[in-house]
Structures are given as structure tokens and as C-alpha cells.
Amino acid sequence: METIVFSLLNGVIYGLLLFMLSSGLTLIFSMMGVLNFAHASFYMLGAYFAYTISEASSFWVALIFAPILVGLVGALVEKYGLRTVHVNGHVAELLFTFGLAYLIDEVVKIIWGRNAVDYKVPELLDFPLFELFGAQYPAYRIFTLFVALAMLAGLWFILNRTRAGLIIQAALSHPHMVGHLGHNVPRIFMTVFGVGCALAGLAGVIGGNYLVTDPAMGVQMGPIVFVVVVVGGLGSLMGAFLAAMILGLLQTFAVAIDARFADIFGWLGLDATSELGSITIASLAPMIPFLMLVLVLMIRPRGLLGDREL
């Protein structure tokens, strides 16, 4: 009972964190088809901007301005970089962002140094909200939950209430034609990329003090965000949300399972002292996302709720 409640709660919160991290990528990927490898680097930029701003003023100011700044950086990157490689196709775009990730990581080290910075949870939210079976729940974690939900709502609006998605999708197949219909394609691309980066930045503002703000945080978060987006399905916000929740829950539940392979496959003659047999489910939990990624792509390449294949 206790385990289930814990795992549910933690799973949901971790799922929301994952969703927050990947929501910007969902936007960029499903609208522009760009698998932004530097997404996690923008997340890191968000955290560092927030650190600097909150040093100068306060966390709440940072909460507003850090994402905007990251969004501006993203828009500039789109305008002066991504746009040039766009004509060479998705692989070129992907490679561009791959290189960009290297660049941002190094520049962050130069500007903010190579150690972790002291980016703290604001005092207003730095208290345990409630206690459950002896473990405390920090208020900040619940705050995170609300921010993630707000992001979900905002994204839903962008994707469903504006035509930007349609226009960009159209521009992917026939950019000139979209221009002839009177749409300013480059500006829309820039805006969407900027907004996607801003969302990554917002995740950084929230995640930076919840976790740690150091130059390795981008690399650390790297691949997991792809998993969420791909498993969720291209073009589907709800899919990404669902995928994040499932991944969050699966992982937390798996951590709670101490069974060893030998306990499960003992009937196959697997010995508990053997290398394979002594592996516990719990120790594999962090690998579950990647297992999911491979399986989903093999079995259902459009992802959970995707409306088209990658």
C-alpha cells in the first residue's frame, strides 16, 4: 500500500518533470520536424539565466525573463543558423543542433565557470508541504507540478488554436507555395523555434534548482527527452504527456521492485548468484525509457498517439 502510494505520487511528479523537459521539443519536433539535439542545452541555459537573474533580483523575475531570454537565443539560432541548413533537409538540421549542443556547453563553462552554481529554490517555496509515511513532500515539487500543467495547457492552445502548426507542416513539403498563400514562413519558423526553446528554458528555471545547475546538466538530460517525444508520437501533445507519465510511473514502480532476474526466470534455470540472475528489476529502472524507445519504434513507429510516422 505504502509503496503504491509513494510510487504513484513520485511517478506522477517525475512524469511531469519529464513532460516539462520535453514539451518544447515536442513543439519543435512535431511542428518543424527538427529533432533538436541542443534542446537539453537550452534547458541548461534556462537554469543559468535564472541563476544570474535571481542573483540580481529574484526567482520570480527569473521565472518570467529567463525563458524569454532563452527564447530569444533560440530565435537567433534559427534565424542565423538553422535557416541556412534547412534547405539541406532534416539530417542537416539535426547535425546542426548536434554541433550547437557542443558549442552551448562550452560557452556556458566559459561564462559561468565549470562548477555547479548556487541556484536555490526560492525561500517562499522552500518548506515541506506535507508528510506521508515519514517522507516529506517539498512545496517546490508541487509547484513544479502546477507549472507543468500550465505548460501543457499553453502548448495545447498553441497547437490547436493557431494555424501555425498547419502552416509549418505545409511549409515542410512546399515552402514556396505557403508563401504564395500569403504566409510569412520564415517568421513563423523563427517564432516556433523560439517558443520551443523558451519552454526548454522554463523547464531549466524549474529543474535547475530542483536538481543541480552545472555544466553537465545538459548532457545528462540529453537522450531522455527524445524518448518522451518519440514514444508519445509525432505531432501529439497528449501523446508526449502520456508517454512522460507512463515513463515516470514505470520507472518509479520498477525502482520499488527488488525482485531479481533469478526470482523471475528461475524456472529457466537462472541462478541467483550468476551475473544475469543477480540483476534486480530496480537496478534496471533507469534503462526502461530506452527499452521503451526501441520497442515502440519497432512495434508502433507512430508512437502512442502520433498521427503520423516519424
Binding site: T3, R114, F133, Q136, L211, M217, M221, S283
Partner: protein, 391 residues
């Protein structure tokens, strides 16, 4: 005739581990500078050069060749047992294949016990305690803590993590059979983003202390999650004192996180040693004085060279065997049987009330008398059967 004693420092100087490697290099260079100011080693100037290996074993071997080309006969390395292992192999082969050009390996931080046990090697000297000795020290300290009744072990799922877990289990059952080990958990290296579920398990298990060999983000994230969720037992770490961790852990970790080290800057120090430490921190304002073993290694190297009256690695190696040195924290002995140094260790506690802080912040590490573990108490049995070259 005066010569130059060249030390090649082969460790990461760029990439994610660059900062850690850079700290090591700084301390080696500083140690060299200080000893040169006093006339060098046996009249020879010491020159330390950094070679960036990106913590990659293969790249280390390329850098080793570079060092050999530059006439280097002493190699210093510490980050990553994989690198150390590759270097030990390569140096052994080199020494066998090129008699007269032998090279000595000064290991200042790679802690795999096998290097001084079944894989022990005449050309390798370790100036850090190995992971078993550190566990020996940690459990010695735990032995005196009556209120610790339940211990949870958590670590990274690879050779080091597993070794720590095994040593902890073995030592605890020997020294405190009454302690219950309520969990022994491994998680993949560098893959966990949120440790809360693990911490929930730890809290539910009722543990009042946690032992972890985690380093890097795995350690910081674990500690943050533990404290955020209200875990209030001691967290006994190997690498709590490493670079940047203090800032990341913050106020909440004060008094709770402990680290097993051979030194911290808030120990009582002689004036000379204090001057040495201050000089370092003044020179490298971004870095903290951390590796006392580097200072120790430099001094022991100097003593050995003087004793042998030579800076030839073979002579120095024989001289180092069994040597004792009165260091700033007490007496150090280089075991002759396995080339492992024995030195006093300290179970330091994270504190916000310190004279010398780390990471340019208010936090630092302290250790009282009860936290001191004598050098002899860290001694472990060795399986080493050293083959020595003929003199």
C-alpha cells in the same frame, strides 16, 4: 649534474571531467613549484606537464607515448580506474620491452583495490587509500556510532559501486554485527535523473545511515533528493568533498553528509602547512586545496630520490618501498609488499561553520578527534605477490 625530473600528468583537462583534472594538475604544479623553490628533488628541478586524456583509456595511451617522447619517466594519474588500469598495463609492457627507459606510475586517486592486490605491480605506487581501505575507515567510524542501527547501501552499477557494496557488507558484519543492512541497491551509472523513488525506499526501510560510493551528478542528486524528502540520517560518502559538490548540496546537507578523506583544510595545521595551503588557494582562486596526497607524493618522491641519490625510476622505486614520511597529518608509510601508502584518514563532516570554505562559499569540511582513523587501522590484507626487477 642537475637534470630535470619530468612528471607527466595524464588526466582529463577538457570535457565534463576537465575541472577535476585541472585541480589535480594545479596541485601537482604547485607542489613542484614549492619543492623547486627549495632546490628541487636531489638538486634537480621538477617539471610537471599536463596531458589531456579525456578520461579515455585509449587516449591515455596515446598521451603516454607523447610523454615518453618528451623524455618523461614519471607518470601521475588519478581519475578513473579504467585509465589507471590501462596505464599500468602499458607501463609494465613498456618497461619490459625497453629496459633502461623504465617509467614509474604515481597513482594519486585511482582506488581499485586490485592494483595493490592480485594486479599489483612494481612500477605502480598508490598515494591514496584504496576503496577497501576507505571502507575500513568508514566502518571504523561507524563502529563508534551507537545510534546507527540500520544502514542502507546504494551505489552505481559498475565495478567500483559493486566493490564498495561488498566491502561495506563485509566490514559491517565483522565490526558491528548488530547493524542491520536494510538495503543494498545498485543503479546504472549516470542515468538517474530523479532519485526520489530510491530515497523513498531508503526512508521506508527505516535506515538511519546511508553509505554510497557515488560520485559526480549521481552523488549530488542522491543527496539532494534525500535531504529534500526529509531523510535525516548520516550520509557516508567517498566523494562528498569533490569539486562543486558543496555548492550543489547547499545548507540542507550540513551536519548530515560525511566524506572519507585524508585531509581537510579545517584540520589543525602547522604554520608551514597552513602557509602551503593558503598559498595554493591564493594562487588558484577557483580551486580548493583538496589532494593532500599530491603534496605527500611529491615529498616522498623527493625523499626517495635523495635516499637513492638518483632520479632514475628504478632506484627511486626501490627507495620508496617501505619508506616512512612525517606528513602534516601524521606518519605515512609506503608498504613495501604492495606499494600502497598507509596514512591517517578523517571522516569529515559537511559544515557551515568553517574557517576555510570550499567552492568560494560558506561551506566546508570539519573533522574532530573522534573522526580520525589511524593509518594502521586502514591496513588491509594483501594478495600481492610482487615481482621485482633485479637491481
Amino acid at each position: 649534474s642537475a637534470d630535470t625530473l619530468k612528471i607527466a600528468f595524464i588526466d582529463p583537462l577538457s570535457g565534463p571531467f576537465g575541472p577535476t583534472g585541472q585541480d589535480g594538475l594545479n596541485e601537482w604544479e604547485y607542489a613542484a613549484e614549492q619543492i623547486n623553490a627549495k632546490g628541487g628533488i636531489n638538486g634537480n628541478q621538477v617539471e610537471v606537464t599536463g596531458y589531456d586524456n579525456k578520461v579515455n583509456p585509449k587516449e591515455s595511451l596515446v598521451q603516454l607515448q607523447k610523454a615518453l617522447d618528451n623524455g618523461v619517466r614519471y607518470i601521475a594519474q588519478g581519475n578513473g580506474s579504467s585509465v589507471a588500469s590501462a596505464l599500468i598495463d602499458a607501463i609494465t609492457k613498456h618497461n619490459k620491452r625497453n629496459p633502461g627507459e623504465e617509467v614509474l606510475f604515481l597513482n594519486y586517486a585511482a582506488v581499485d583495490p586490485s592494483f595493490t592486490n592480485d594486479r599489483c605491480n612494481f612500477w605502480h605506487f598508490r598515494f591514496d587509500a584504496d576503496s577497501d581501505m576507505k571502507m575500513e575507515a568508514i566502518t571504523d567510524w561507524v563502529k563508534g556510532q551507537e545510534d546507527i542501527k540500520k544502514v542502507y547501501i546504494i551505489g552505481q552499477d559498475y565495478s567500483f559501486g559493486k566493490a564498495v557494496a561488498a566491502a561495506a557488507e563485509k566490514n559491517l558484519t565483522e565490526k558491528r554485527p548488530d547493524i542491520e543492512i536494510v538495503g543494498n541497491e545498485l543503479h546504472p551509472l549516470g542515468k538517474v535523473k530523479d532519485f526520489t523513488p530510491y530515497v523513498q525506499k531508503i526512508i521506508s526501510s527505516g535506515a538511519d545511515a546511508m553509505i554510497t560510493g557515488n560520485w559526480g551528478a549521481d552523488m549530488v542528486l542522491l543527496i539532494k533528493a534525500a535531504i529534500d524528502s526529509g531523510f535525516d540520517g548520516k550520509i557516508l560518502t567517498y566523494y562528498g568533498g569533490s569539486r562543486g559538490a558543496a555548492t550543489a548540496m547547499g545548507q540542507a546537507a550540513v551536519g548530515q553528509v560525511m566524506a572519507i578523506v585524508e585531509h581537510n583544510t579545517n584540520l589543525e595545521m602547522s604554520d608551514a602547512h597552513a602557509a602551503y595551503v593558503d598559498g595554493y588557494e591564493a594562487k588558484y582562486s577557483e580551486s580548493n586545496y583538496y589532494y593532500q596526497r599530491i603534496d605527500n607524493a611529491m615529498h616522498m618522491l623527493a625523499m626517495a630520490a635523495e635516499k637513492a641519490d638518483s632520479i632514475d625510476p628504478v632506484d627511486v622505486a626501490f627507495a620508496l618501498e617501505g619508506m616512512t614520511y612525517e606528513g602534516p597529518t601524521g606518519t605515512l608509510t609506503m608498504r613495501a609488499d604492495n606499494h600502497q601508502v598507509l596514512q591517517p584518514m578523517f571522516m569529515s563532516t559537511f559544515s557551515d561553520n568553517v574557517a576555510r570554505g570550499v567552492d568560494n562559499g560558506p561551506f566546508g569540511w570539519v573533522a574532530d578527534d573522534a573522526a580520525r582513523i589511524e593509518a594502521e587501522d586502514t591496513r588491509t590484507e594483501t594478495t600481492c605477490q610482487m615481482t621485482r626487477p633485479s637491481k
